[in-house]
Subunit: 182 residues, 2 copies
């Protein structure tokens, strides 16, 4: 049996607006020795696959500072304190980033972005019957372009590196299982 | 067209052994205004799906400090300076963590763990014909248990939250595409 480690001390080491870094001193259940671990504390995230009545996926293209690249993704973001639920956050992000809205927001599952160093989860949704209904509303640091993508093209876009965001690829895994089992 | 942002200043804000946090001041190509962005600098990662001659996937179970949970994953880790290539790192991690080895290491693709806040990539490999050949070699802070998993059980393990690591779910997406197109 794999056992949990006991945390014997914990302190915040850095605060960086969208995440904090915490240092834990933890005791090994095997050896009793203490080791430091660094945890990135972040709010939970959401992403959503909006599908138009014509069967196209509503994607967004945006510059990403981590990789210094323009990235093709599905809409998503951070769950805000004002969001009543992950589904609410997903719908809000979809409307803000694309202007598309849908009557239904269907949960596809959730993942842990990186259990080793991140403490949060990412919830994935499907928005069937998504239609352009609103103007987009970007933050001061957001500038996105909507791209309609044929679902049949997604595997090639992933293989070619155009769709590279691991949480987007994981969302497409959950979507494929949903299509297979519904 | 989505444009890149220009970085006008950059400094390291925190060093946490397995990652560093960098603060960039960047100029919006749209407004000219400057904004701060926090980037987690990490080495590239690898993971690998070892498949035994009997068709079972060699998984590992371990305690993860980020989520404070025991996590079911495929072998993987950080590419070390001594690794000649991502494939070399994948094979090394597989052998160290499971004792299984394989003659072939097949690239399945790569993803960006989080283009918004992480600067690195994760390379995924398949190790067909993996057999138990070595003793495991853990770091002082590693304690893993090998679990053989039937590929048919993976979707259910993901849906049930037992397999939750986004990079592992993304690896299974790449593996499914590989099986479909080979």
């Amino acid at each position: 049996m794999i056992q949990r480690w006991e945390t014997v001390a914990s302190r915040v080491r850095g605060d960086y607006e969208v995440f904090r870094v915490r240092e834990d001193r933890c005791r090994s259940p095997l050896t009793g020795a203490e080791h430091p671990f660094y945890i990135i504390e972040a709010s939970d995230w959401v992403n959503v696959i909006p599908v138009t009545p014509e069967g196209q996926i509503v994607c967004v293209e945006q510059y990403r500072h981590g990789t210094d690249e323009v990235s093709l993704e599905i809409p998503g973001g951070i769950i805000d304190p004002g969001d009543a639920s992950p589904a609410h956050a997903a719908r809000r992000e979809m409307v803000e980033e694309t202007g598309y809205d849908a009557d239904a927001i269907v949960p596809l599952g959730s993942v842990a972005p990186n259990p080793a160093i991140l403490n949060n989860r990412c919830y994935t949704f499907l928005a069937p019957g998504a239609r352009l209904r609103h103007a987009t509303r970007f933050d001061a640091t957001e500038h996105l372009a909507v791209r309609l993508v044929d679902p049949a093209d997604v595997p090639g876009l992933v293989a070619g590196g155009r769709i590279a965001h691991a949480l987007v690829v994981a969302a497409f895994y959950l979507y494929e299982q949903h299509l297979r089992t519904r």
